[in-house]
C-alpha cells in the first residue's frame, strides 16, 4: 500500500516549484511519479494521419499540484487519457509510480487505475440513487477490500472532504459542490499515486468552484497527494503551482506559478484529515 505521508521537499526546481507539503524526515530527494517520454498518439482517419500528441515529455513528482492547460483540440484530453491509463500511446514510454504502463494489457491497466489513479470528472459521474458512502466504496469493491474496511475507509474519505454528515444521502440529493466532493472522496479512498481532475469546477458556480479548489489545495498540502488538473480555464491554473501548456499535440510551456491563488479563506488547515485517512487505512 502506498503511504499517505508522501515524501515531499522544498526544492525550487522549475519543473517542481516550491512544494508546501510537509517533509517530516527532511528527505530532500524528488520522487517522480509520472515519467513520460516521447509520447505520441496518432490516429488514422482514412488516408489522413492525425497526430493528437506528437512527442510529449512530462515528468511530475510526488506532491506536485499541476495543471495541464490547453485549448480544446490541443491534445490535453488525449494526454490525460494516457496519463490516466485509459488509453495507450502509439509511441513513447510512460512510467507511473515506477511501473512501465505501455506494456500492460487491459486487465492490468484496470488494476493500475484502481490502485494508483483517482479520477475527478467535470460531470461528477456519481451513481444516481446510490448513497454517498456507497459511491465512495465502489473503487474498493474492485480492489477486493472487505465490506467492513470499505465502510470505514469510505466514511473517513467523506469526512476528509467535509461530508461526514452526509454519508447516507443519495448522490442526486446533494448540491453540485457536494457531489463533486463525493467524487473527490471516491478518488482519495484508494490512496492513489495521482489524482487526475478533468475540469473539476466546470459544472459548478464560482463559489462552489472555489470551495472545490480549496479542498484540492488543502488535500495536497496536508497529505501530499499529487494532483493534476486538466483544464482550459486559466483560473484553475492560477490555483496550482505549475502549469504545463499544450498546443497542437506538443508541450509549449512549463512554468511555475508565482502568484498562486489560495482558495481557502483561512490558510490554516483545521481538519486532522491525514490522521483520519491513515487510521482508516491501517
Amino acid at each position: 500500500m502506498i503511504s499517505l505521508k508522501r515524501k515531499t521537499n522544498d526544492s525550487s526546481d522549475v519543473a517542481a516549484p516550491r512544494l508546501n507539503g510537509q517533509a517530516p524526515d527532511g528527505n530532500a530527494s524528488l520522487v517522480p511519479v509520472i515519467e513520460a517520454h516521447g509520447i505520441a498518439k496518432i490516429y488514422r482517419i482514412g488516408d489522413i494521419e492525425v497526430r493528437a500528441l506528437d512527442g510529449v515529455d512530462v515528468t511530475i513528482h510526488r506532491g506536485e499540484l499541476t495543471a495541464i492547460m490547453g485549448p480544446s483540440g490541443s491534445g490535453k484530453s488525449t494526454l490525460m487519457n494516457i496519463l490516466g491509463c485509459l488509453d495507450q500511446p502509439t509511441r513513447g514510454t510512460y512510467k507511473l509510480d515506477g511501473v512501465d504502463v505501455e506494456k500492460l494489457n487491459d486487465d492490468q491497466l484496470a488494476a493500475i487505475r484502481n490502485k494508483k489513479i483517482g479520477f475527478v470528472f467535470q460531470s461528477f459521474n456519481l451513481l444516481r440513487r446510490t448513497s454517498a458512502i456507497d459511491n465512495v466504496e465502489q473503487p474498493l469493491i474492485y480492489a477486493g477490500v472487505r465490506a467492513r474496511e470499505r465502510r470505514e475507509r469510505a466514511a473517513a474519505a467523506l469526512e476528509s472532504v467535509g461530508l461526514g454528515n452526509r454519508l447516507k444521502h443519495y448522490a442526486n440529493e446533494l448540491s453540485g459542490g457536494q457531489q463533486q466532493r463525493v467524487a473527490i472522496a471516491r478518488a482519495l479512498v484508494t490512496n492513489p499515486s495521482i489524482i487526475l481532475a478533468d475540469e473539476p469546477t466546470g459544472n459548478l458556480d464560482s463559489k462552489s468552484g472555489a470551495e472545490i479548489m480549496c479542498l484540492f489545495q488543502r488535500l495536497n498540502e496536508e497529505t501530499g497527494v499529487t494532483v493534476i488538473f486538466v483544464t482550459h480555464d486559466s483560473r484553475i491554473a492560477q490555483h496550482t503551482r505549475r502549469v504545463i501548456r499544450i498546443a497542437d499535440g506538443k508541450i509549449v510551456g512549463d512554468n511555475a506559478i508565482t502568484d498562486q491563488i489560495i482558495a481557502c479563506p483561512d490558510k490554516a488547515l483545521p481538519n486532522p484529515v491525514l490522521e483520519k485517512l491513515e487510521h482508516a487505512a491501517a
Binding site: G84, L127, P139, Y142
Partner: protein
C-alpha cells in the same frame, strides 16, 4: 471481485427501477407459469388414466383376438379368428403362476322394460368375474355359480342401463326385463365406475356366460369348429413380478394352438394393465411434451424481453460503465455485473412463475375430474430453463457493456 458484491449491485440496480424490472420479469413469469401449469396438467391426466386402468383389478391380463398395436396410434386389426372355450380351458390348464382365470362373451343387445328400451352390450360372465375385475353389485348380487350352472335368465345391470329402464326411485330388483325379447330377472345393480375417456363404463349388463352362449345367442356363439366363442379371457397373475412370464406363456400356448408360423405376428393379443397404461401413457406423454413446448415458446419470448431491456440498460448506463472502468473495473467484472442482473431478472421471474403455475394447477383441479400433479422435476426444469434464458439472453448485452471503451463511455451524453 466477490460474488456477493455482484449480487448486491444487481439487486440494487433492479430495485432502482422497479416497474421496468417487474414488467421484464413478467414475461419469464408467465412462461415458467405456463410450463409448470401445462406439464402438471399433463402429468395429472396421466395419473388419472393409470388410476382408471388400475381400478380394473390387480395384476390383470386380458387376452383378446386380433393384434393390438402398442404405442400411439395403435388399434386392433388383423384376421380375427375368435378365441374359444377350448382356448380358455387350455390356458387355464397350462399356465403357471395364475390365481384365477375367467372368460366372457359380449354382444350388443336390446334391453326393454315396459315401454323403455336401451341398447348396450350384454356380457356373459363367469362367477369369478367380480373378484377378477374388482367390480361388485351395489344392490342385490352379482352372477354366481348357481346362475352359471343353471343357465339362469338373470341379469345384473350397470347403472346406466338401470337408469335407462327404470324410473328414478323405482326398485329394479326382481323386475323382469327383456333382452332381445328373452325375459330376464334383475338380480342386482352394479357399482358405478363413471364415465371416462374409455367411454361410459356403466353402460353394461351381466348375465351368466352359459346363458349368453347357449340361450341368448345360440348359433352366433359357435365358431366354425363348433366351439363356443369367448370375447375375452381374463387372467390374474400371482404377483406383479410374474405378469410378463404369464403373458409369455399364454402367448406361446395360443400361438401353438392356432398354428402361427414363427415368423408371423400373433393374431391375438395378451396385454397387461401396464401395457394398456403405457399405450395411453405414450399418447398423453406426447401431449404433455407438446404442451410444454408451446409454453416454452412464451419463455423464449420472455427471454427476448430480457435481452431487449438489458440492451436499453447498457445504453442508458454507458457513463456508469465508463466510470466503473475508470475506477478499476475489469471487463470481466462489468460482464459479470450485467450478466448477474439478467440472471436475477429471469430467476426472480421464474420464482414468481412457479407461484403462477401452482395457482393455475390449483384452479384446474377445482374444475376438472383429475388432479394436476406439480412434480419437483417440472419445477427444476422450469427454474433451470429460466436461468438458462437469463444467461443466454443476458450474455450479448453484457458483452456489449464489457467491451465499451472507457474514454468513449465517459464522454457519452
Amino acid at each position: 471481485m466477490l460474488l456477493r458484491e455482484l449480487i448486491k449491485l444487481a439487486l440494487n440496480t433492479l430495485a432502482a427501477n422497479k416497474p421496468r424490472a417487474f414488467l421484464t420479469m413478467l414475461g419469464i413469469s408467465i412462461g415458467v407459469g405456463a410450463v409448470i401449469a401445462l406439464m402438471s396438467i399433463g402429468a395429472g391426466v396421466q395419473d388419472y388414466i393409470t388410476q382408471q386402468f388400475s381400478s380394473a383389478g390387480a395384476n390383470l391380463i386380458g387376452v383378446v383376438p386380433g393384434r393390438i398395436q402398442r404405442g400411439p396410434g395403435g388399434g386392433a386389426f388383423g384376421a380375427q379368428a375368435p378365441l374359444t372355450m377350448a382356448d380358455y380351458r387350455a390356458v387355464a390348464a397350462n399356465t403357471p403362476n395364475i390365481i384365477d382365470i375367467s372368460a366372457d362373451f359380449a354382444r350388443p343387445a336390446v334391453f326393454a322394460y315396459g315401454n323403455k328400451t336401451s341398447e348396450v352390450n350384454v356380457t356373459g360372465v363367469m362367477a369369478n368375474f367380480s373378484a377378477i375385475r374388482n367390480w361388485n353389485a351395489r344392490v342385490g348380487r352379482m352372477i354366481d355359480e348357481a346362475d352359471v350352472g343353471g343357465r339362469s335368465r338373470v341379469v345384473a345391470l350397470g347403472q346406466t342401463v338401470a337408469n335407462d329402464l327404470f324410473e328414478p326411485g323405482e326398485d329394479p330388483l326382481d323386475k323382469v326385463i327383456r333382452i332381445n325379447n328373452v325375459p330376464f330377472r334383475v338380480i342386482g345393480v352394479m357399482e358405478s365406475k363413471g364415465a371416462s375417456f374409455l367411454g361410459d363404463q356403466d353402460a353394461v349388463a351381466f348375465i351368466p356366460l352359459s346363458t349368453a352362449q347357449e340361450r341368448l345367442f345360440g348359433q352366433q356363439s359357435l365358431s366354425v369348429t363348433g366351439e363356443r366363442i369367448v370375447s375375452t379371457i381374463y387372467l390374474q397373475a400371482a404377483s406383479d413380478n410374474v405378469v410378463d412370464s404369464v403373458i409369455a406363456s399364454v402367448d406361446e400356448l395360443l400361438r401353438e394352438r392356432r398354428r402361427i408360423p414363427a415368423d408371423e405376428p400373433s393374431d391375438f393379443s395378451a396385454l397387461s394393465q401396464d401395457e394398456l397404461i403405457n399405450t395411453f401413457g405414450a399418447v398423453t406423454g406426447v401431449l404433455t411434451v407438446f404442451l410444454g413446448a408451446i409454453a416454452a415458446i412464451s419463455l423464449l419470448v420472455g427471454g427476448i424481453g430480457i435481452m431487449n431491456i438489458m440492451l436499453v440498460s447498457v445504453t442508458e448506463r454507458t457513463r456508469e460503465i465508463g466510470l466503473r472502468k475508470a475506477i478499476g473495473a475489469r471487463s470481466s467484472a462489468i460482464l459479470t455485473q450485467f450478466l448477474t442482473e439478467a440472471v436475477f431478472l429471469s430467476l426472480i421471474g421464474g420464482l414468481i412463475g412457479i407461484g403462477i403455475g401452482f395457482g393455475a394447477a390449483f384452479l384446474v383441479s377445482q374444475f376438472a375430474d383429475f388432479r394436476p400433479v406439480v412434480q419437483a422435476s417440472t419445477i427444476l426444469l422450469a427454474v433451470g430453463f429460466s436461468l438458462a434464458v437469463g444467461l443466454f439472453f443476458g450474455i450479448y448485452p453484457a458483452r456489449r457493456a464489457s467491451r465499451l471503451n472507457p474514454i468513449d463511455a465517459l464522454r457519452f451524453e
